[in-house]
């Protein structure tokens, strides 16, 4: 029996995870994280994780489970570590994943640390991932049973110490079963829609949300020759690999669709070009976080480059804080700021943040 904090977002997954922890005999306390100082200022409605309605749903689920429930104010930490970072990353021309950041800095750091200090043994969440004990006694993080729901990618930032205090009771389940179980347990959230997009961006309008915070930062969209195709109000509205919404007016010479190839943050220059120029097979990354020991020598592995993205066969080499990834087959649409998560089989080895991408025959240094 462990004393656990169940992080309860107000959604069905975290409610069932808490229920399973209770049923497993743990002493569970439900905690909803207030991530916004003004719960109305971020997204409203049932889809996000910081509305008053979600706090109420989490409270009702805790009532049904018969566990104590509190709201923890993590708004300062969230603003500093996740929201500000998100804005700064876009301003720097990168494409961050705030969910990884939140797991690294909030859920399994600020919340876990506070829980441990208050006398709890760990944290239980509704993430779809599996924990197993490895040969050496280390806790290993593995992909979930339900490949469609697998969230091991966003947990790739967790260290051994954090994993030791984590519980993911849903890792062996498929989503439909979790919903059915919620209904069986009389949890009102059984039919609540899943959350999507980024919890603090209302309506999923990323560009609009960033524009409010960064203001107009005019620049140009150019082709690979440097020919200006049009002006834009802010490079942060663009992501590498983006095709839609470029509004270039005139078609390319060859009539083929054009994609964002590169974003130069200082001048705000967005370069577009043909799809094949998106292909890269060398990634450089920094800020590695390993779930256990760092790879020792070249590691034949697979990597995942975005949430719910494909697996790519690769070789990873670690040199201190630098991680170099060579993909066996080129992949497209990889942006600096994204996390590369390294797997051996189903096991998560760790993650790092992509700083540059290139194509072997083109060579590093083409600015991407």
């Amino acid at each position: 029996m462990a004393r656990l904090v169940a992080a309860m977002s107000g959604g069905v997954d975290s409610a069932v995870a808490a229920a399973r922890a209770v049923e497993a005999g743990h002493d569970v306390t439900g905690v909803h994280l207030a991530l916004s100082r003004n719960p109305r200022s971020y997204r409203s409605g049932a889809r996000g994780c910081c509305s008053i309605e979600d706090a109420g749903d989490a409270r009702r689920a805790a009532d049904v489970l018969g566990i104590p429930f509190y709201v923890w104010d993590m708004s300062t930490e969230f603003a500093d570590e996740v929201v500000d970072d998100f804005v700064a990353e876009y301003a720097a021309g990168r494409t961050p994943n705030p969910c990884l950041r939140c797991n690294e800095k909030i859920k399994f750091a600020a919340v876990l640390d506070r829980a441990l200090a208050l006398g709890f043994d760990g944290v239980v969440t509704g993430h779809y991932a599996l924990l197993e004990t490895g040969a050496g006694g280390d806790v290993e993080l593995h992909r979930a049973q339900d490949a469609g729901k697998d969230q091991s990618y966003v947990l790739g930032v967790l260290t051994q110490e954090q994993l030791r205090h984590s519980h993911f009771p849903l890792g062996g389940s498929v989503k439909t079963d979790v919903r059915a179980e919620a209904a069986r347990r009389d949890l009102q959230v059984a039919t609540k829609p899943d959350s999507h997009d980024i919890c603090f961006v209302a309506d999923g309008d990323n560009a609009g949300w960033l524009a409010e915070r960064l203001g107009p930062r005019p620049g140009t969209i150019v082709d690979e020759d440097g020919t200006v195709l049009r002006e834009h109000d802010g490079a942060y509205a663009y992501t590498i690999g983006q095709r839609r919404g470029l509004r270039l007016g005139v078609p390319a010479d060859d009539g083929k669709p054009r994609f964002v190839l590169d974003i130069e943050p200082v001048s705000g220059t967005v370069t577009v070009g043909p799809r094949e120029r998106l292909l890269v097979d060398v990634l450089e990354a920094d800020r590695p976080l390993w779930c256990g020991p760092a790879p020792d020598g070249p590691l034949e592995c697979t990597v995942q480059l975005r949430a719910h993205g494909a697996e790519h066969r690769a070789v990873v080499e670690v040199d201190g804080d630098l991680v170099r990834v060579r993909l066996h087959d080129p992949a497209e649409g990889i942006a600096p700021g994204q996390a590369v998560v390294v797997y051996v089989g189903t096991r998560v080895v760790g993650s790092a943040t992509i700083t540059a991408t290139s194509r072997v025959e083109v060579g590093v240094g083409d600015g991407r």
Binding site: R3, D27, T29, H32, A34, P39, I52, A55, R59, P68, Y70, V71, W72, D73, S75, E77, A110, D113, R114, L116, A117, L118, G119, F120
Partner: protein, 404 residues
């Protein structure tokens, strides 16, 4: 998180300022009267019988509070009474003379008063002035004098609570009334916290309106009253049948009102004795607390007595702690306290009362309100004292984690 005993200990309830257990006699009256059929506004025998219960209750309440029966206007509770007082008096005074557009209120009022005042500013063009308090949480009368005398003809209404809900500090209501009288300005006081523990005499107070509510003194939730002097006519908030002196409409809740009267009657009968007992319990609590947590700071006015503070509230700052962490750790041991301040979506906000008293944000977050009541015992206090050292230590650790 630990429960030292294998058998669950009874809950230690130290949040009587939030709501206090109903007196059994009041609960009995409530259940008896709930079975009654009859709208107190109906003209037939059932209606008359219901009306009789309401009027007898009104007489009891008036008697207990030094008012005339016709001065008792029943409401749904303290919040509605405060809204009726402050908005109603503002509108009435402004209607009589458009120059009267100022509302003067203390910086430590409850949200049930603060929010209607700020609403008046936002929607009705009121100019609002906050009267500061001293380090003990008491309104500085001289500052109020300056505020009034800057332009007495423009003041619509002055309001100062009788005793503060977080600190227990008793306010200089007599002085406020005397000051306002010089300029014929009406004065309201929110006496919700005071009514259970201090003798109140509405007529002697010179107030024009005073708020009381049942559930803070052993009556049911959902009923309260605004005492309104006969010659004062606030503009109603709720229009309809005009049941309560045309100041408040809605079918009156006979059972709630009867139980309110019974609870107040018992409270007043036993007040001297119960308040003295609670004061001794508070002494035990404060003395013991400073022994087990020597760096704790007890806020507000240390002097006992009806001119100084309520006997039942101890507001304590624990340096280096967050109040909500302590609340949770105590709750896990069956000890129920409050951070004293308002919540927003379950998150305690730094207390505007402590901030007004000159404390910083950290102190305002690192405090607990421990409030005793008629059912409190020495064993309750001792359970708290036994739990505090470990709770305090863990809360400090949690706070350090957050700060790093």
């Amino acid at each position: 998180m630990t429960s030292e005993n294998s058998a669950p200990a009874p809950v230690v309830y130290l949040d009587h300022a939030a709501t206090t257990p109903m007196h059994p006699e009041a609960a009995q009256v409530l259940t008896e009267q709930l079975a009654r059929t009859g709208n107190a506004s109906s003209l037939h025998a059932s209606g008359r019988a219901a009306r009789r219960v309401v009027e007898e209750s009104r007489e009891v309440i008036a008697e207990c509070l030094g008012a005339r029966p016709s001065e008792v206007v029943f409401t749904s509770g303290g919040t509605e009474a405060n809204n009726l007082a402050i908005k109603g008096l503002y509108w009435a005074r402004r209607d009589a003379d458009p120059a009267r557009d100022r509302v003067l209120f203390s910086s430590i009022e409850h949200h049930a008063l603060l929010d209607p005042v700020t609403w008046l500013a936002a929607h009705e063009g009121a100019r609002i002035d906050t009267t500061p308090v001293d380090r003990q949480g008491r309104v500085v009368v001289e500052r109020l004098r300056e505020q009034i005398e800057a332009d007495p003809a423009s003041v619509a209404v002055v309001t100062t609570m009788w005793a503060n809900n977080e600190m227990g500090t008793v306010q200089p209501v007599d002085d406020v009334v005397a000051l306002a009288r010089e300029h014929a300005i009406p004065v309201h006081s929110d006496a919700v916290q005071a009514a259970g523990y201090l003798p109140l005499d509405f007529a002697a107070s010179g107030l024009d309106a005073m708020t009381v509510t049942a559930h803070k003194l052993g009556g049911p939730v959902g009923v309260g009253a605004l005492l309104v002097r006969r010659e004062v006519a606030p503009v109603p908030l709720v229009h309809g049948g005009g049941q309560e002196r045309d100041l408040r409409s809605g079918t009156v809740g006979v059972a709630l009102i009867a139980a309110f009267a019974r609870a107040l009657e018992i409270t007043v009968e036993r007040q001297a004795q119960v308040s003295a007992r609670i004061e001794r319990l508070r002494q035990r609590l404060v003395t013991g607390l400073l022994r087990v947590v020597p760096d704790a700071v007890v806020n507000g006015d240390p002097e006992p007595g009806p001119q100084h503070r309520l006997p039942n509230i101890a507001h304590v700052t624990f340096p280096g702690c967050e109040g909500d962490a302590m609340l949770m750790l105590l709750d896990a041991q069956g000890i129920e306290v409050s951070t004293g301040s308002a919540c927003q979506a379950g998150v305690p906000q730094p207390s505007h009362v402590l901030l007004a008293m000159g404390y910083d944000d950290a102190a305002a977050r690192g405090s607990l309100r421990l409030s005793l009541g008629h059912t409190s015992t020495e064993a309750d206090v001792d359970r708290l004292l036994a739990a505090l050292p470990q709770v305090r230590e863990r809360a400090v650790t949690a706070s350090l984690v957050r700060g790093r």
